[in-house]
C-alpha cells in the first residue's frame, strides 16, 4: 500500500489494481493451489498415503517411464531440427528467411491431434495417398507410427519451433563485434561457430530445451492418437483413460498423477528460468546488424535442403490429410472419378455435433480472448506503474497455468469447481468449467504481449493526460487502450487461435453438448470416421493459417516481442 502510494499517488488506481490483481490471482493460481492440497491430504487431514499407493502402481511407473522416454527423445529430435534451422537462419545469408520462419511456425500452431492424424494419413497400409500412388504396404502391415518411435518423431516435429525461436532470439543478441573479433584474430568458419558462437548460445539452447521438454511431457494429442492404439500409455493418456473409464470417483488418484506430471514440469520450468537468467549476464552489447555469414556456393544446396525438410514436415502430411478427406470411403484410392466432397459436406454441414462444436469452440475462444483483454490491459498497465510485492509475485507465477501440462490444469479445475463452496451447485459438465480453464491457461498468452508493449510506452503519455484533467478511466480509454491496441489484438488473436484448436484441457472437461472442435476430431478418428476427421482437420488448418497470415500482415505495427515468431 505504502509503496503504491509513494509513486503515482492515485488512490483510484491502487484500488483498481488490487481488485483486478485479486481476480487474476483467483483465476490463475487458485486451481494449482487446490490441486496441491488435494494430493497431500486424505479426508481433510494431511497425508501422503495416497501418493505412496499411486506411485507404487505398475501402471503409474510404466506411464512415467513412457512419458520420460517419449518427451526426452522427442526433445532431442526438436533440438537437432530446431537448432540446425536456427543457426542457418540466424547466422547466414540465406534468402527468403521470413517465409522460412513463417512456415516453421505452422507446426507449432497446428493442434497436435491434427499433426498426428495427418501423419498417419501418409504412412501405413490404409494411407489414401500411398494407395493412390500405388506404393502402400500390404493390408495387415502395421501402421509404423503407432509406436514409441512414432510418438517421438511427431513430438519432435511439433515442438521444433520452440527451440528454433529461443535459439534464434539468443543468436540475435550476440554482439556482432564478438564474431568479428574472432575473425580478425584468424578464426574462420566452423571454428568461429564452435568456439565463439556456440558457447554464447548455450544458455538459450538449454532454456529452450527445458521448455520443450515440459511441453512435450504435457502433450496429449499425439500420444493419445498414436499411443492408445498401440497400448503405449503415457502419463497424460493414463489420466484420460482413468477419468474416461471410471468418472470422478478416481479424482483423488488422478490428482496424484497430475501432481507427478506437474512436479516433473516444474523442474523443467525452473531449469529454463535458471538458464534464461544466465543468458542476460552474457549477452550485452550492440546488436545493430544481424550476423550474415556468407555461405558462398553452398547457399543454394542448403536452401534446397531446408525447404525440402519444410516440405516433408509440413506440406506432405497436409497432402495426406487432404487426400483422405476427398475419398468416398476410407481405404478407396483417390482418382478423379472417385474424388468427392461428401465427407466435407457431411462433417461441416450435416453432423449436429460439428456445428455445436464449432459454436462452442468459437464462443469459448472469442469469450476467452475478450475477457482476457479486458482484464490484462488495465492490470498490465497498473502493475507497470505500481510494482507492489504482490504484483511482482504474480508476475513471476502467472506463466504457471500455461507452462503446466493441460491435464494438470484440467484436474485442478475439476477439483476446484466440482462442488462450489457454500452451495450444492457444480460447474463440472457445464461449458463454464472449460471457459474458466481457458482463462487460466491462456492468461499468459494475452498478458505478456500487452505487458511488453506497455513497458515500451513512455509513462509521460498517461501523465500528460492526467495533467490536463483526465481521470483513471478516461486515461485508460483514450491513451492506454489505443496505444497498446495492436499488442492486445495480437495477444487476442493468439488466444483465439490456441483456444479454438485446443484439445488437452477440453478432453477431460467436455460432456455431451459441450464438445469442442479438438474433442470432435479426436472422437471422429477414434470411432473410425477418418475421412470426416480429416476434412474437419483440414478446415481448422486453413483457419489457423489464415489467422497467422493476418498477424503477419500487421506485424510491422507491433512493438518488438509481440508476434511470437518475430522475437
Amino acid at each position: 500500500m505504502q509503496s503504491a502510494l509513494q509513486k503515482g499517488g492515485s488512490r483510484s488506481e491502487y484500488r483498481l489494481l488490487s481488485a483486478i490483481l485479486i481476480l487474476a490471482l483467483c483465476l490463475t493460481l487458485a486451481p494449482v493451489l487446490r490441486l496441491f492440497i488435494e494430493g497431500v491430504t486424505d479426508q481433510g487431514a494431511p497425508s501422503l498415503s495416497l501418493v505412496k499407493s499411486v506411485l507404487a502402481q505398475d501402471s503409474t511407473l510404466n506411464a512415467l517411464k513412457h512419458s520420460l522416454i517419449t518427451a526426452g527423445l522427442g526433445t532431442l529430435v526438436s533440438v537437432v531440427l530446431g537448432a540446425a534451422f536456427a543457426f542457418l537462419v540466424a547466422l547466414t545469408d540465406l534468402r527468403a528467411k521470413a517465409a522460412l520462419v513463417f512456415c516453421l511456425m505452422i507446426p507449432m500452431m497446428i493442434p497436435p491431434q491434427i499433426t498426428a492424424l495427418s501423419w498417419t494419413q501418409i504412412m501405413g497400409p490404409s494411407s489414401v495417398l500411398l494407395k493412390t500412388l500405388g506404393i502402400a504396404p500390404p493390408l495387415g502391415a502395421p501402421q509404423p507410427l503407432y509406436s514409441p518411435e512414432g510418438i517421438i518423431l511427431l513430438l519432435g516435429i511439433q515442438h521444433m519451433s520452440i527451440i528454433f525461436l529461443t535459439l534464434r532470439a539468443g543468436l540475435r543478441a550476440i554482439p556482432q563485434e564478438v564474431v568479428e573479433a574472432a575473425r580478425i584474430s584468424g578464426a574462420r568458419g566452423f571454428r568461429t561457430w564452435w568456439q565463439v558462437v556456440m558457447p554464447l548460445t548455450l544458455p538459450s539452447l538449454a532454456a529452450g530445451t527445458a521448455i520443450t521438454f515440459v511441453t512435450a511431457l504435457g502433450n496429449f494429442g499425439i500420444p493419445a492418437m498414436l499411443g492408445i492404439p498401440a497400448g503405449y500409455v503415457t502419463l497424460p493418456t493414463l489420466v484420460y483413460q482413468k477419468l474416461a473409464g471410471m468418472g470422478t470417483t478416481v479424482l483423488a488418484e488422478v490428482s496424484v498423477l497430475a501432481m507427478l506430471i506437474g512436479a516433473v514440469a516444474i523442474v523443467g520450468i525452473l531449469l529454463q528460468r535458471f538458464f534464461q537468467g544466465r543468458q542476460n549476464v552474457y549477452l550485452v552489447g550492440s546488436t545493430s546488424r544481424p550476423l550474415a555469414i556468407p555461405l558462398g556456393s553452398a547457399r543454394l544446396p542448403v536452401e534446397i535442403l531446408l525447404w525440402a525438410v519444410v516440405f516433408v514436415i509440413l506440406v506432405l502430411p497436409m497432402f495426406g490429410l487432404l487426400a483422405t478427406s476427398l475419398v468416398p470411403a476410407y481405404g478407396v484410392p483417390l482418382r478423379f472419378d472417385t474424388m468427392t466432397f461428401a465427407s466435407w459436406g457431411e462433417v461441416l454441414f450435416r453432423q449436429p455435433v460439428t456445428a455445436r462444436a464449432f459454436a462452442n469452440s468459437f464462443s469459448l475462444a472469442l469469450g476467452a480472448a475478450v475477457v482476457l483483454m479486458i482484464i490484462c490491459l488495465p492490470l498490465a498497465w497498473l502493475m507497470e506503474r505500481h510494482p507492489t510485492r504482490l504484483s511482482r509475485l504474480f508476475d513471476s507465477l502467472l506463466d504457471l497455468p500455461y507452462a503446466l501440462p493441460g491435464v494438470v490444469l484440467s484436474i485442478a479445475m475439476i477439483l476446484l469447481l466440482i462442488k462450489l463452496p457454500f452451495t450444492e451447485a457444480t460447474l463440472y459438465g457445464t461449458i463454464w468449467i472449460i471457459f474458466l480453464a481457458y482463462l487460466a491457461r491462456f492468461f499468459a498468452v494475452m498478458f505478456r504481449p500487452v505487458q511488453a508493449s506497455l513497458k515500451q510506452l513512455d509513462p509521460a503519455m498517461a501523465e500528460a493526460a492526467q495533467s490536463v484533467g483526465a481521470g483513471l478511466f478516461q486515461r485508460l480509454r483514450d491513451v492506454i487502450l489505443p496505444l497498446s491496441a495492436p499488442a492486445a489484438a495480437a495477444g487476442a488473436i493468439l488466444v483465439f487461435l490456441t483456444a479454438f484448436n485446443e484439445l488437452t484441457v477440453s478432453a477431460l472437461l467436455w460432456s455431451s453438448g459441450t464438445e469442442t472442435l479438438g474433442v470432435v476430431i479426436f472422437n471422429l478418428d477414434d470411432s473410425g470416421e477418418t475421412a470426416m476427421a480429416s476434412a474437419l482437420a483440414m478446415t481448422i488448418v486453413f483457419v489457423v493459417i489464415a489467422l497467422m497470415t493476418l498477424i503477419q500482415l500487421f506485424s510491422r505495427r507491433f512493438p518488438k516481442g509481440v508476434v511470437p515468431w518475430q522475437t
Binding site: 502510494l5 483510484s12 501523465e463 500528460a464 493526460a465 490536463v468 484533467g469 481521470g471 489505443p482
Partner: protein
C-alpha cells in the same frame, strides 16, 4: 490565483533523499527557473508539484488549496496544472488538433466552444496549418509547440516545464524561448521551468532557484544570483567564477578590505565581518603590466572578439580573465583585482 507555497518538502526514494526540507514560495504569475546540476532533484520537485509523486514529508499549497502532504494529496487531474514534458509526450494516435482539444473534451465543453478554443490555441502557437497532421510527421520544434498548445488551451493556473528545450538544437532553442516568454506574458500563469542551461534560465526567468543535492542553495533574480552569490556552490556554478579563501579582513567606516592571494583589496559584501571567501569573475580581473598579482598564462581560448585566459598565479590558484589582445601560453602578466563579491561559507 495560483501562488505556490512549499513548506519543509522532502522526498526519499528507497532510502536516499532526493529532496530535503525545501521551503519556498513562488508568487502568482512569476516565471521561475529551477537550475542545477544533473541529479539535484529538479525533476523530482516538479513531479511533486504536478502530483505525479507523493512527498515523503512537508506540504504543498497551490492558491488557497493544500494539494499534497505526506499522507494525502489531490491527484494531478484535479489540480488544473499544465505540464510540458522533455519528451513532448504527444499522443501518437491522435492528430495535432485532437491532441490540443483533448483537455477541453475532458472538461465537457460544447463542440463549438472546443473548436473555437482549439483554433485559438493553435493560432497562438503558429500551428494552424499543421492541425491535421499526426505528431510523427512534425519536427522537434513543432512537436514542442503542440505540447505547449495542449497546455495553454485549458488555461491552467500554473505551468510546469521539465527541460522542454533539451532535445532541440541551439538555433531552435532561441526561437522557442521567445515562444515561452510570449506565452507567459499572454497567460499570466505561474511558470516553473526546469533547465540546466544557465543562459536559458537567465534570459527567461524572473527568479532562479539554484539547486544542489536536493536543497535550494539560493533563490533570487538572475542579476543578484550572478553578482551576489550566497555560497561557494552558487558562485562556482553560475557564471565563470573562481572562489578563493580570505586570509584576513579589515573594515573601516566606508570600505571592507580582504587579504587574498597575498594582496590586500577592496571587496563588496553583505556579510560584513564574517566573510570567508571571495568570488573572482573575469570582469573583476584586469590585465596590466603594473598589476600587483603576477600570473602565467596556462591556456588561451578564443571566444569570438575576445580571449579567455586561464592563468595560474604565483601561489598556484587558477584565475580566469578576458582580454581583447592575444597572449601566448607561458606569458607572464600582472593582474589587478577590482572589488569582487565576498561571502561567508562555513
Amino acid at each position: 490565483m495560483a501562488d505556490i507555497d512549499i513548506t519543509s518538502l522532502g522526498k526519499v526514494f528507497a532510502g536516499t533523499p532526493a529532496l530535503q526540507d525545501i521551503t519556498t514560495r513562488f508568487e502568482d504569475g512569476e516565471f521561475i527557473a529551477l537550475l542545477g546540476p544533473s541529479g539535484c532533484g529538479k525533476t523530482t520537485l516538479l513531479r511533486l508539484l504536478a502530483g505525479f509523486d507523493m512527498p515523503s514529508s512537508g506540504t504543498i499549497r497551490i492558491g488557497a488549496r493544500e494539494v499534497a502532504t505526506a499522507t494525502k494529496m489531490v491527484p494531478p487531474e484535479e489540480r488544473n496544472i499544465g505540464f510540458v514534458f522533455q519528451s513532448y509526450a504527444l499522443w501518437p494516435h491522435m492528430p495535432v488538433r485532437r491532441n490540443v482539444s483533448y483537455p477541453l473534451e475532458i472538461r465537457k465543453l460544447t463542440k463549438p466552444e472546443i473548436a473555437a478554443q482549439t483554433d485559438a490555441a493553435l493560432a497562438a502557437t503558429g500551428l494552424t496549418e499543421y492541425a491535421d497532421r499526426m505528431p510523427s510527421d512534425l519536427s522537434g520544434g513543432q512537436r514542442q509547440r503542440v505540447a505547449l498548445a495542449r497546455c495553454l488551451v485549458s488555461a491552467p493556473d500554473a505551468v510546469l516545464l521539465d527541460e522542454p528545450l533539451a532535445n532541440l538544437d541551439v538555433a531552435l532553442r532561441a526561437s522557442m524561448q521567445e515562444v515561452f516568454t510570449d506565452f507567459h506574458k499572454r497567460t499570466g500563469a505561474t511558470m516553473v521551468y526546469v533547465t540546466h542551461d544557465q543562459a536559458e534560465a537567465m534570459a527567461m526567468a524572473d527568479r532562479i532557484a539554484v539547486m544542489n543535492q536536493g536543497l535550494i542553495q539560493q533563490f533570487d533574480t538572475p542579476q543578484t544570483l550572478y553578482e551576489r552569490p550566497k555560497n561557494r556552490f552558487v558562485a562556482e556554478f553560475v557564471g565563470r567564477g573562481t572562489v578563493v579563501p580570505v586570509k584576513a579582513i579589515e573594515h573601516d567606516e566606508i570600505q571592507l578590505h580582504a587579504h587574498i592571494l597575498g594582496t590586500r583589496i577592496a571587496v563588496k559584501s553583505d556579510a560584513q565581518s564574517q566573510v570567508s571567501h571571495v568570488c573572482l569573475r573575469p570582469e573583476n580581473l584586469s590585465i596590466s603590466e603594473t598589476g600587483d598579482l603576477r600570473a602565467k598564462v596556462a591556456r588561451v581560448t578564443y571566444l569570438g572578439g575576445k580571449y579567455l585566459l586561464e592563468t595560474v598565479s604565483a601561489c598556484g590558484t587558477r584565475l580566469l580573465a578576458e582580454t581583447r589582445a592575444k597572449f601566448d601560453v607561458g606569458a607572464q602578466l600582472g593582474l589587478t583585482i577590482t572589488t569582487p563579491w565576498a561571502f561567508s561559507e562555513d
